[in-house]
């Protein structure tokens, strides 16, 4: 239930941000109207705050207060810095598509390596040239979440990726978001459509270029996954330590399809990853997993809503958080089973490992069950490293630090190992281990 809180003065500044940015928003025909409507919806509540149940633990109104001015188009110097960062996070064999400060940079992307089975265009191009009203409406979809509405209003660019019926894209497509600026905001939005029986793997990485600081990234991905299609979506956020990252995924899945999701946040100042997944057809299998690796003062919030609307679907969710220093992890996982979703089989586990006395973990696993013929459950634990295990390893000759590291690795490994592609699993593991090593 929404609670009405007075808006912060600084928030009013967003009006002028939106007004000032208007000229830079791509969109012909009805697009400006759709954006204006989305902005109105955002305006009604403003930044998400603790009075909204889903944002209870991440009060953006209190934490960030204002939306920073829109980042300028990157200049040549910025692109050079961005290139370095983008190359550092390249996934093995992936086709890279780079967005710098919210603008697609074809010169940094591997457009030439794209397979014929996939069509990629920039959001700008689609909204300016070829979008029918229906497509524009889909691409700029919103929910009742105000962060997503703001994204729809402000998105400057992104990628529109379509895979036709029956096509299988072999190489992963990696969208790299690079921020180069200081105290600016970026809004990106991508749209993904997999036809019937299509296969694809999408990787998204968030990284800062050297010198980038204090920025706010707001990204959204809208995906439609057709019947019998298969999609892997892997997201790794490794932002600047004072940056804000709000990422939303809205995914609707057809019948007998397969969806593998993974999200990892390993740096930044405030991070929120929210996924809204609707299993609309029957017999679909969802595996949704993630890891929050938290130190310093990072607050990382993962919120996943799995909506079982069709019968005979299975969902498995496994989330892990390792929290050190004054970090704070939030995990909210809601499983909704609608009356038609007979024979739903849904389980979720969330575990938090607290490494410091100042660390905090808030877990809110939630079941909302409206059908009787179902098997649903969740489990949540939080606690410190098991001393007896540490001792056991030390008795076998490991140093205390090594023993702890080994156990932490095993802990987040429980979730990472759910990634089915070996290459992508290695890609994620390497970054998680890098995080671990950096804390030594």
């Amino acid at each position: 239930m929404k609670q009405v809180l007075p808006k912060a003065d600084t928030e009013r500044a967003i009006d002028s941000v939106f007004a000032a940015a208007r000229g830079r928003m791509p969109g012909a025909g009805l697009v400006p109207q759709i954006r204006a409507r989305a902005f109105e919806v955002y305006e009604r509540t403003g930044l998400p705050h603790r009075g909204m149940e889903d944002w209870k633990y991440t009060d953006l109104r209190a934490l960030i207060g204002e939306v920073l001015p829109l980042a300028p188009r990157p200049n040549a110097e910025a692109l050079v810095r961005a290139k370095v960062s983008a190359e550092q996070v390249s996934a093995d064999q992936a086709v890279k598509l780079v967005l710098v400060d919210g603008v697609f940079a074809p010169e940094l992307s591997d457009l030439g390596r794209l397979e014929n089975e996939v069509v990629v265009r920039s959001l700008r191009e689609v909204l300016e040239n070829s979008a029918t009203e229906a497509i524009a409406g889909l691409v700029l979809s919103t929910t009742n979440d105000s962060a997503i509405s703001l994204n729809a209003a402000m998105a400057t660019d992104g990628l529109v990726i379509t895979v036709a019926d029956g096509n299988a894209v072999k190489r992963p497509i990696q969208i790299v978001h690079v921020a180069t600026g200081l105290s600016v905001s970026t809004f990106t939005r991508s749209y993904l459509q997999l036809g019937k029986g299509a296969h694809a793997a999408i990787v998204e990485s968030f990284v800062p270029a050297e010198g980038a600081s204090g920025y706010q990234a707001n990204d959204a991905i809208i995906a439609l996954v057709g019947d019998e299609a298969s999609l892997s979506h892997i997201r790794v956020a490794a932002d600047a330590s004072d940056a804000v990252n709000i990422s939303s995924a809205i995914i609707a899945v057809g019948a007998r399809a397969k969806l593998d999701l993974f999200s990892m946040t390993c740096s930044g100042s405030i991070s929120r990853y929210q996924g809204f997944i609707t299993l609309a057809g029957e017999g679909t299998k969802l595996s949704a997993n993630g890891v929050n690796l938290i130190r310093d003062k990072l607050r990382a919030d993962t919120t996943i809503v799995v909506d079982h609307a069709g019968p005979h679907c299975t969902s498995r969710e496994k989330f892990r958080a390792v929290v050190d220093d004054c970090g704070r992890s939030v995990f909210q996982g809601r499983i909704v089973v609608r009356p038609a979703a007979r024979k739903t089989d849904a389980t979720l586990t969330t575990r938090a490992l607290l490494l410091s006395d100042q660390a905090e973990a808030d877990n809110k696993p939630e079941l909302k069950i409206l059908a009787d013929d179902v098997t649903c459950g969740h489990g949540a634990t939080s606690g410190a490293l098991d001393d007896t295990l540490v001792f056991y390893l030390r008795a076998r000759g490991l140093s205390e630090k090594d023993a702890q590291m080994l156990l932490i690795k095993a802990f987040f490994g429980e979730s990472i190992e759910e990634i089915t592609s070996e290459k992508l699993r290695d890609f994620v593991t390497a970054q998680a281990e890098h995080w671990l090593q950096a804390g030594r």
């Binding site: 006395d357 100042q358 808030d362 079941l367």
Partner: protein
């Protein structure tokens, strides 16, 4: 499947129209004028011969209440309550001080008889089959403080309790006879400003029970209160305060019923428990207020604030509840684990049927070191009901070594109902160890067939499985109550449960 379909049909038919305690007692009552104002508050205070400080306390609460709004976060849905359209005080007439049961209006006694409540000092709860070896005569004694509408009509076993030094009396009497205790503890666990309904209660509470167990005393018998809402359009606002001083022990039972009515009746009680060093309080509730009829009309709105404060080191508070009644239940018996090594428990069975809406659970707030808590919740949803478990477990920065175990299981009978689980688990220090599990399922067809192949009817099979499902919680109840609770579960799921 045919067999399951039949169960569903049966459950649909049940129930609600068969409310066993739906009778009315025709007695004259003494009511406050309808509506709520400072005058009402003064009227109540005056009726109860309260000292000035008590009236002041009430008025402050009333003024605070005027500035508050009704909470809306619970998963319950009901038409707006007109707080000016209720009576805030109703006492059976003629009202005089009751010293023995013989002086009580026989109509009232009859009512209690129908309820099966042992007002007679020797009465035992009927239908109890003692387990071998458990026929300890002391165990079977229950002192009852019966609250009829808002007034406590009789307190039994006074003499025996007095010998042990236990104070057990209506809170209205305690205000006069033990003002120092009441002033010290009233509102110390649930402050007058706590929440909309608790604040309302503070302003207009009419009566309730007061218990004080002195240091080192093990209360020689179970204490019990039966609440009953009889008068039409009466809000019932009891206030219960239980204090277990150092090293003492008390077990308290609360039972509630209300007759059938078309209008919804409001019940907003406050229960405060205080456990000092090494003290233990066990608080058990069986609630079967009128849930409304098969169209969802009528029934009690039960908005209750129950909280226990484990104030002393090694203190322990245990809540056990069997909730089968009320149209709407909004109730979270909680424990504040303030003392080091203190512990809290919450065992709950919540059954909803017809159009009932239940939003219930607990809060375990770990503040002291090495505190532990345990939550076992069993929700059963049938008919068109909505059944929500909502619980908070939190360990503060300094609550090192805090431990919690939570298990929430839900069972769905039929496909028109909903079962929801909303736990909030907040660990603010690394030495806190929390474990939480929840499951939702239906009664498996294989289990039913196995039972039926062995000769049980469909109803008996469902009953057996449901009783197995809630067993962990039933075991926590004192034996007499457990038997009654088991019967209640059968009534609430009548038609499908033998």
């Amino acid at each position: 499947m045919v067999a399951v379909q039949e169960t569903v049909e049966r459950v649909k038919r049940i129930d609600v129209d068969q409310y066993r305690y739906g009778f009315e007692t025709l007695i004259e009552t003494d009511k406050a004028p309808k509506g709520l104002s400072e005058e009402t508050v003064k009227f109540i205070s005056e009726k109860k011969n309260e000292p000035a400080w008590m009236l002041q306390w009430r008025l402050e609460a009333y003024r605070r209440w005027l500035t508050m709004t009704e909470p809306t976060w619970a998963r319950v849905d009901y038409p707006k309550i007109d707080f000016q359209d209720l009576y805030y005080y109703a006492a059976p007439k003629p009202k005089k001080t009751v010293t023995s049961l013989d002086e009580i209006d026989p109509e009232i006694l009859k009512t209690y008889e129908k309820l099966g409540i042992p007002l007679r000092e020797v009465a035992m709860l009927e239908g109890v089959e003692p387990k071998p070896g458990e026929e300890d005569p002391n165990r079977r004694k229950i002192a009852v403080d019966a609250v009829f509408d808002s007034v406590s009509v009789a307190t039994t076993f006074k003499a025996e309790l007095k010998k042990a030094g236990v104070i057990f009396m209506p809170i209205s009497e305690a205000i006069r006879e033990h003002p120092e205790l009441v002033q010290k503890y009233l509102g110390s666990v649930v402050p007058t400003s706590d929440n909309f309904y608790a604040t309302l209660n503070s302003a207009v509470f009419s009566d309730g029970s007061f218990v004080y167990v002195p240091p080192g005393v093990r209360c020689p018998m179970e204490l019990s209160t039966y609440f009953r809402i009889n008068e039409r359009n009466t809000g019932q606002f009891e206030r219960t305060l239980i204090i277990a001083d150092k090293g003492s022990y008390v077990s308290y039972l609360e039972g509630c019923t209300a007759p059938q009515r078309d209008e919804n009746q409001l019940h907003a009680a406050v229960v405060e428990l205080v456990a000092h060093d090494d003290a233990e309080i066990k608080y058990s509730t069986v609630q079967n207020w009128y849930p409304g009829n098969s169209e969802g009309k009528g029934g009690i709105y039960n908005f209750v604030t129950k909280r226990g404060d484990c104030r002393g080191d090694r203190s322990k508070i245990s809540w056990t509840q069997v909730e089968t009644g009320s149209a709407i239940t909004w109730k979270y018996p909680s424990c504040i684990l303030r003392g080091d090594n203190s512990s809290g428990e919450f065992y709950s069975i919540a059954i909803s049927n017809g159009f009932q809406q239940v939003d219930s659970g607990t809060k375990m707030i770990h503040l002291g070191k090495n505190t532990s808590s345990r939550i076992i919740s069993k929700g059963i949803a049938a008919g068109k009901s909505q059944n929500t478990y909502r619980g908070l477990v939190t360990a503060h920065r300094k609550a090192t070594g805090a431990r919690n175990f939570t298990a929430c299981d839900s069972l769905l009978i039929g496909d028109k109902c909903g079962a929801h689980t909303v736990p909030y688990i907040e660990a603010k220090n690394s030495s806190a160890t929390f474990e939480h599990e929840a499951t939702t399922s239906k009664i498996s067809e294989d289990v039913l067939f196995y039972c039926i192949q062995r000769g049980l009817s469909q109803e008996e099979a469902v009953g057996l499985v449901v009783n197995g499902f809630v067993k962990d919680v039933l075991q926590q109840l004192p034996m007499e109550f457990a038997v009654e609770a088991q019967k209640l579960i059968s009534i609430s799921l009548d038609g499908s449960v033998g």
